[in-house]
Structures are given as structure tokens and as C-alpha cells.
Symmetry: C2
Subunit: 140 residues, 2 copies
């Protein structure tokens, strides 16, 4: 999904495109990894020194509600990344830098019928570890 499409969707839903909101969206969507609210704040503050956490959180909340973001609970804090609802897949998540890459196969396909009486409403399949760069100590 392109940033323009996101903006379009927000507009259609009656949300306004403020400068801060646009910057927040671009900050998240230019990354291919999970970022925390604090990381987003820091980035956005480069251009808008006045922004505060509540604006970040309010926007994260709106974007999540519209399914434009994926949210994953890290230790003590949540992190967010662009949602890729169109193609169902699973991530390799670097626990250090948040970098994500896509697993080439979907293990869920192998699991139909395994759950029995349990009514499945969702699942989380993430493999944690260190990406190539973090293994080489590139991200301090």
C-alpha cells in the first residue's frame, strides 16, 4: 500500500490531513519494520518540535482501527508497522531493530482443522531473532 492510498482512505473516512498526521504516516510507512511510539515521536519531532506523545498515540489508534497498521506487543511496549492485509503472510521479526521480512510460505495453510472445538479468531506466528545487519553489530 502506498502512502497516497492511506491519505485517501483517511480523507474518505472524514479525517483531516494535518501536517503532523502526514508526517507520522510517512514516518511509519517509509520503514519496513516495527517501530515504537517513541521512535515515531523522535522522527516526527525533527520536523515538528512541538508534537507530543498523545498526538502520536491518537494517530496510531486511528490507523489501527482502519486496519492500516499491524501492532505487535514487544516487552513493555507496542510496535507498529504498515499493514499488508492484501497478501496474507508471516514475518521474521528482528528483536533488536524491529526489521521484518516475509516468510516465503504460510504455515497456517497446514493447520486447517487442527483446532477442533476452538473457534479461531486470529493467530500470531512470528519468528524472533537477529537480522543480518544486527548480527554484524550494525545497529547499536
Amino acid at each position: 500500500m502506498k502512502v497516497n492510498e492511506i491519505m485517501q482512505i483517511l480523507k474518505e473516512q472524514g479525517y483531516k490531513l494535518t501536517e503532523q498526521r502526514k508526517e507520522i504516516i510517512e514516518t511509519i510507512f517509509k520503514q519496513n519494520r516495527y517501530v515504537s511510539a517513541k521512535e515515531i515521536l523522535n522522527e516526527v519531532q525533527d520536523r515538528f518540535p512541538g508534537v507530543s506523545f498523545d498526538t502520536i498515540y491518537r494517530n496510531l489508534s486511528i490507523l489501527s482501527d482502519l486496519d492500516l497498521l499491524e501492532e505487535t506487543q514487544f516487552e513493555g511496549e507496542a510496535k507498529y508497522r504498515v499493514s499488508c492485509i492484501e497478501d496474507h503472510h508471516h514475518h521474521l521479526v528482528c528483536t533488536k531493530c524491529g526489521q521484518t521480512s516475509v516468510l516465503p510460505e504460510c504455515p497456517m495453510d497446514l493447520l486447517q482443522g487442527l483446532a477442533g472445538d476452538f473457534r479461531v479468531t486470529g493467530h500470531k506466528f512470528e519468528i524472533y531473532g537477529l537480522c543480518k545487519e544486527c548480527q554484524q553489530g550494525k545497529n547499536t
Copy 2:
């Protein structure tokens, strides 16, 4: 793993078996589901009205460090359950009551070699939904 074994391990590690600690352990280990610190506190307070969150958290921390507990991040809070390190498996997790049951097959076995350059240090594979009881509205 039996509660007695847990007590034994703690003893061996130099930890003392206080009444509160024993009650906390029994509370967690008699459940087959993820419970929150608050739930544990409530249970334990039935017998020890004086216990407070810090005691709960300190004990959870000790038990986790010894790999006697599995911890999973729910929305806004962590939940804990008995660790079953001996037999590797995956859970079906009820998002309402925390009930867990074991998946009869291990999907991780199918994934060797898929990660490439990524150094895998752990994974989370959980399927969320409603267990039979919660589907029938038994746990308000």
C-alpha cells in the same frame, strides 16, 4: 511438572519457601491457562489478605528467570502459565479466559531452513480465539 518439583528447584537455588510464595505457585500451577498478575493477586489474597502486587511480580520474575513460567504479552498486560519445556509444543489461547490447549502437531518442524540469513532465537506461534466454554458464554 509437579508443584513439588517447582518447590524443590527453588529450594536448590537458595530461595525460601514462604507461605505466600507457595500460594502463588499453587495458584499458577493449578491453572492450565495464562493468568495475569492481577488474577494471581486476587486468588492469593483469599488466603493472604496482606499480599501486594510487588510480591506477585517479584515471584513471577524469579519463576520466569528459572524458566518455570511462560510469559505472553496480552494487550496492555503480561500473562503467565506453567512452562512445559520438556515437551515442545504450541498453544491454542483463548483471548477471553486465557485457557490454553496444546496443538497436536508442531508447525515449526516444517520450517527448518526457511529463515535464511536470519538468526532465529525464538518464535511465537499462538492461535487466538474462544474455547468451547467461552463460546457458550460460561465465563463472564
